[in-house]
């Protein structure tokens, strides 16, 4: 849930364009998968809606985003589309600029893809889905909490340390809360026999 909430005009345009250019690759792969499997469109759109709604519930000075849950349910390719929809919606509400959508999508997709990968590894190793989701979500989000300060530092040609000391602690705190929520949600989905989160799906 590390997200660059800066409005437009702060991150230089060349970095914004680089963000869009870089994200076009996973997005194109995701759209290709979506067109091949149109039955997944409802799940993609709904997860984006749930993720967006979760963002409106404030937690300390941050918010949930449910990106690892999106990755666990959709996988790395389709989650690229869902994450892009959420970040576009946020930008259209002023929550992070329109030009920053590319950068934010890369950050959030890395959480989704990382969450999926770690979840699959842990369930493959025999861990229960709920616990695997807890460890995967907490670990991935804690690691990605360190990334936006460096992204902003490079883009703004400044030091990352001020951002690391002010923003990252809140993100790490929220990361483990999101890990608990994701773990309970995945556990409930498994008990409901929903096939999206089955280890083999």
């Amino acid at each position: 849930m590390a997200h660059v909430h800066l409005p437009d005009g702060v991150i230089p345009l060349k970095w914004c364009l680089l963000g869009f250019a870089t994200y076009s690759v996973p997005l194109a792969l995701g759209l290709k998968r979506l067109v091949e499997r149109p039955s997944t469109i409802p799940l993609v759109g709904t997860l984006a809606a749930v993720s967006f709604a979760a963002m409106q519930v404030p937690v300390v000075c941050a918010h949930l985003m449910l990106t690892p849950l999106t990755g666990i349910v959709l996988g790395p390719r389709l989650s690229a589309v869902s994450v892009f929809v959420v970040d576009t919606a946020c930008a259209l509400m002023g929550h992070g600029g329109v030009t920053v959508v590319g950068i934010n999508s890369i950050l959030n997709w890395s959480e989704a893809a990382g969450g999926w990968l770690l979840y699959r590894l842990l369930t493959g190793a025999g861990l229960k889905p709920g616990r695997a989701a807890l460890v995967a979500t907490g670990t991935v989000l804690s690691c990605t909490a360190f990334v936006p300060p460096f992204v902003m530092a490079v883009a703004l040609n400044t030091s990352p340390y001020p951002f690391l000391f002010t923003l990252t602690p809140f993100w790490i705190l929220t990361a483990w809360l999101e890990a608990l929520v994701t773990s309970k949600t995945v556990g409930a989905l498994v008990r409901m026999n929903v096939e999206w989160v089955s280890p083999g799906s």
């Binding site: 005009g9 469109i41 409106q56 869902s82 002023g94 989905l189």
Partner: protein, 241 residues
Amino acid sequence: MRLERIDSLVEWSLEADTPAHSLNPVVKWGSTLVTVLVAFAVRRIEVLPALALPYVVLAVLSRPPREALLVMAVPPSVFLAVTLAAMSPWEYLKHGTEGLRHVALYSVRGFTDLTALVVTAVTTPINATWETAAALAPPGLAQAFLVFHGSLYGVMRAFRGILVALTVRGRPKPSLEAFGAALATVLARSVSSAERMEAAIEVRGGARPRPRVSLRFGVSDVVWTIVVASSCVVALTLGRG
């Protein structure tokens, strides 16, 4: 709570009849994007507010709910202020007063662009924005946008219901087990209704849905385009020093 304020914003944006609502959403969002891009080229702090002026006038004429504006403007403003405050000592140590000038430039530019974006978002009917986005998006993404938009209000209502259910005697009772189970239920049920919605989208136009919003352009669109273009020209002429 933020969910309730977003609900009232949605209601206002769909029902209001103001000068801003008569503008074509393609023209409004297109002009906002141009404003944002032009702002990157303006380097004089005192000239930047000229870009925000048309949007401020539009907001005054439309009189959107103050709460809606605050809900959308406050979080990014706070993030921007915290970020720039954190940067300032380092910039001063490294570049002296020139560093602080850079921080001030980012600040004014950020608030200018945020003003344009928030006013556009608040004064454009939300369904028009999403239907336009779907009309312009490639296949697959267009349908995802429409399913997202169609599912969102039901999901937000369900979220509010969960939070109310977890409130005991006016205080939220922390129960992650209950929250997780409720979230799973919301997700499963929302997907079922989204599948019906997707079927309806297919009937309307398949991979390339036809937007329900009319894309006709009127006199007000021409006037708005001229006003925004003028502010951009003024800003570029005076502000590239």
